[in-house]
């Protein structure tokens, strides 16, 4: 049975009609055209599908869309403001923290969520927080550096 589901998506009020058990991942990708959020495993193990739900990094591939009713969802497309990259995005560019780029949106959303909660993350905390996001190209060392830089930037440091 289809239902109307309302939530805030990248700052905009959004209403969709869908069966409530459809996953947020495919609703975003297929129904709402936001394809920056990636499918990597569909079973919660890779993190490519990570979005922020009420500021919390969440895996959209296992999440029924009805769960986000009334909540605030941010995807990779909603992270930059008026063409200005979010500090984490900018740091990924500056550190060249990507190769094929497929894991990148999930990495950035996870890191951005972590920094929302605690902008003064240590390197160890960054590693721990990203541990369950997988990257096969091996961009890890630069991703850690990038998130460290973004953390400094967000604390207003240099």
């Amino acid at each position: 049975m289809e239902e109307k589901i309302r939530f805030t998506l990248n700052g905009k009020k959004t209403e969709i009609t869908t069966e409530p058990n459809q996953t947020l991942l495919w609703v975003l990708r297929n129904q709402l055209g936001l394809t920056g959020t990636k499918y990597g495993c569909g079973t919660g193990f890779c993190g490519a599908c990570t979005v922020l739900i009420n500021r919390e990094p969440s895996r959209s591939c296992m999440l029924p869309v009805s769960d986000v009713a009334g909540k605030n969802v941010v995807t990779i497309e909603g992270l930059s403001r008026n063409g200005k990259l979010h500090p984490v995005q900018q740091a990924f560019v500056d550190h060249d923290a990507l190769q094929c780029g497929y894991c990148t949106p999930g990495m950035i959303m996870t890191a951005a969520g972590m920094l929302l909660k605690n902008p003064s993350l240590t390197r160890e905390q960054i590693i721990e927080g990203l541990e369950n996001n997988l990257c096969r190209c091996g961009a890890h060392t630069r991703i850690i550096d990038a998130v460290e830089t973004a953390a400094k930037e967000m604390q207003g440091g240099k």
Binding site: G40, G42, Q99, Y102, R136, G138
Partner: protein, 717 residues
């Protein structure tokens, strides 16, 4: 002017077809100056297997266009999958033509727009493509100068190129832009000259670091991978899969799937799929199909496979031999015999195999995540009976390949389904399908019998490899009596590999390097020598020696005999024309057997390094990825049933594994560029294995070196 031929196209059917195709490019792209060239040396290709009906050697596999708006484009069937060629090739072109980097465009992996190319693998892109492309760019430059000379009425010698203009050196106010020179022209040239060795010191862009030119698109989620495309009427497919390789469908009932609203079930023999406009619905429908299979399993699994390999009736092929094995034994004071085991490995790109197919009239267009767009075009044409020119493959961004996307079965599946259903069909393999249909890195066994004399010189090296592939099996060390023998599939015997295998990153070089460099360490320890001193004593290869010096320096290596409890190990090797030496430092938890790689130093001689930043990133990526085959990765199977179907059991490297990395690229501007996407991967297993020995005195002969295997080896030590 340099020698270039304006070719006529009547010599063969192949040439006529390609000749027509060349004119199509010119028409399609609206004119300009075109330089067709051959990025691949014919003679380098004699060993590679070409698909039927294709000729690589007769024609031009790439071209360069200068368009009326001054844009310089290179069209090639190669693809970008994270290795950064889209940036390094553009740099080379910008340099040769002296145009701003932003004016340069790479058009890759579109079978309608790009000439034939066998595929992107083996670190060949920069190595073979780069110099040829630059020669083509040089040709374009001389054409531009000639055109400008006649327009301006001055001798060509008085003109030079600068920032996209041809400038009169005597009269700097007088200049013509490339765009204005190319505008309205339909000029085709075919480059038959061998690229000359060039003066690398003159380059502006080459040799400097450039970041990924596509980074901004990728960090904002704008970069389009195949799965991100959507066209009107598109449906998602899920295909009924057998539970194991070799299983045959016996009965099937699809009514459960059909009961789901909006689902279409299509069938052609055993090929059965559900289609739905929503992916989740297709997922729901596919599990409603009731199917039964019959099995005829091979009695092979991840435990007994090695015995099966060495016991098999194999084809025996001596790859290299120098001196005499009996003499080698005689000259040796100590003889060592070891056996090394290497398992099947999965590719596990984070993007699974994905394809979107659309049939319009009699033309099939397929967007696919593939390392071989033309290979896929061939397969669709052959399997579905489409003429080649009626199949177009377009390659959007590819989310990692590592050899796993050389086969593109999903593209054929999407094309078949598009034809069967009359709708555009998107196939996105699940992670389970990705594991099941992966063409794994083949497992193998290496046996080595070697010997040293009293002074620590290697006198005997008898190397046998079973079923693993010979890349990287070179002796490297200076040994008077050496032989390499390969045992491989005998055509009349039962298949050794129970499922598909194929290229991985640096195919099998990791296994050969693991075996060789472990054996070297075993001998160094027996000789009572520091492992680096032992290596240098037995090496004559100057490039390798230079790499060792550089890496020892970078690491701050202090000589000591192993096992010394420090947890330091080393290894060297060559891959894709590149030399690499590595020193690793690890910690072993002696109660659990768990290894943490703390630090890796790596030195690489890759000839001229076109984009040092890009090359460093590739080295880091190799080291990180290699930790997987070294410590955890191994495909478990029983007959044709792949037991690892996800990241829950098949563990790939994570953030907490990342060691401190110190990478150096030797300065070799005088040498042609070589491949850099794979070499640093090959030495990690051996360096870590040798470090485990240094830390614990225990030798592990089998990869991955899991905690259980390390504990077991420690018991024996």
């Amino acid at each position: 002017m340099k020698k270039t031929d304006i070719k006529t196209q009547e010599s063969s059917g192949e040439e006529i077809r390609n000749g027509m195709k060349r004119r199509n490019f010119v028409k399609l792209l609206g004119g300009g100056i075109f330089i067709f060239f051959q990025p691949l040396d014919i003679f380098d290709l004699k060993d590679s297997v070409l698909p039927q009906g294709r000729s690589l050697t007769k024609d031009y596999n790439a071209f360069l266009q200068i368009a009326g708006d001054g844009t310089v484009s290179c069209f090639t069937g190669k693809i970008e999958m994270g290795q950064g060629v889209i940036t390094s090739l553009a740099q080379m072109m910008a340099d040769e033509l002296n145009v701003p980097l932003e004016k340069v465009k790479m058009v890759m992996g579109d079978t309608d727009l790009c000439p034939y190319d066998a595929g992107t693998w083996g670190s060949q892109t920069t190595q073979t493509f780069g110099p040829a492309m630059r020669a083509a760019a040089a040709e374009a430059r001389s054409i531009l100068i000639d055109l400008a000379a006649s327009k301006l009425g001055v001798p060509a010698s008085q003109l030079e190129v600068k920032d996209g203009f041809v400038v009169d050196t005597k009269n700097p106010g007088k200049s013509l832009s490339y765009g204005s020179l190319a505008n309205g022209k339909k000029l085709e040239r075919y480059l038959d000259v061998k690229p000359a060795v060039e003066d690398y010191s003159k380059f502006t862009y080459v040799g400097k670091s450039y970041k990924h030119s596509d980074a901004r698109l990728k960090v904002t989620g704008q970069a389009k991978y195949t799965g991100d495309l959507k066209i009107p009427g598109m449906v998602f497919a899920r295909i009924l899969r057998p539970p194991s390789h070799g299983a045959k469908l016996s009965t099937v009932d699809v009514s459960g799937a059909e009961a789901i609203k909006g689902t279409q079930v299509v069938r052609d023999g055993d090929f059965i799929a559900v289609l739905h406009e929503n992916r989740d619905k297709a997922d729901e429908a596919i599990v409603k199909i009731k199917a039964e299979f019959t099995f005829n399993e091979l009695k092979v699994n991840d435990k007994n496979m090695y015995d099966r390999m060495v016991g098999a009736d194999s084809r025996v092929n001596v790859l290299r031999t120098t001196g005499d094995m009996a003499a080698g034994s005689e000259q040796s004071d100590k003889i060592f015999e070891s056996e090394f085991l290497d398992p099947y490995l999965a590719h596990t790109s984070i993007e699974t195999h994905t394809a979107l197919a659309k049939l319009e009239g009699d033309k099939m267009t397929v967007w696919a995540a593939t390392q071989s767009p033309f290979g896929l075009q061939d397969n669709i044409s052959r399997e579905m009976g489409f003429p080649l020119e009626k199949v177009r493959i377009i390659t959007p961004f590819v989310g990692g390949g590592f050899g796993g996307k050389a086969p593109a079965q999903q593209g054929v599946e999407a094309a078949r389904l598009a034809k069967m259903s009359g709708k555009p069909v998107m196939v996105v393999w699940t992670r389970d399908e990705e594991f099941f249909y992966d063409t794994f890195h083949p497992a193998g066994v290496v046996r080595i019998k070697s010997g040293i004399d009293k002074s620590g010189l290697i006198k005997l090296w008898d190397y046998s490899l079973y079923y693993g592939g010979s890349r990287g099996s070179d002796t490297i060390y200076d040994v008077p009596n050496a032989r390499t023998t390969a045992y491989s599939q005998n055509m009349n015997a039962t298949a050794i590999h129970p499922f598909g295998t194929g290229a991985w990153r640096a195919p099998n070089n990791n296994a050969n390097t693991f075996a060789r460099e472990s054996q070297i360490d075993i001998m160094a320890a027996a000789a009572g020598m520091d492992p680096l001193e032992f290596r240098l004593k037995n090496l004559k290869d100057q490039k390798m020696i230079a790499c060792w010096k550089a890496v020892a320096d970078k690491f701050g290596y202090v000589p000591a005999k192993a096992p010394g409890g420090r947890g330091i190990g080393m290894a060297c090797g060559t891959d894709a024309g590149t030399w690499v030496a590595m020193i690793a430092e690890i910690k072993v938890d002696k109660s659990t057997g768990k290894v943490k790689v703390v630090r890796v130093a790596c030195a690489q001689d890759m000839g001229l390094c076109v984009n040092p930043q890009g090359a460093l990133i590739q080295m880091e990526g190799c080291i990180q990825m290699a930790l997987g085959y070294t410590l955890t990765e191994e495909v478990m199977f029983e007959g044709g049933n792949i037991k690892d179907r996800g990241f829950d059991t098949y563990e790939i490297p994570r953030f907490s594994w990342t060691p401190k990395m110190d990478c150096v690229i030797l300065d070799r501007k005088d040498q042609p560029p070589k491949g850099g996407g794979e070499p640093a991967l090959i030495t990690v297993g051996a360096a870590v294995g040798n470090a485990i020995f240094d830390a614990t005195g225990a030798r592990v002969y089998r990869m991955p070196m899991t905690p259980a295997r390390i504990l077991e080896a420690m018991k024996k030590a």
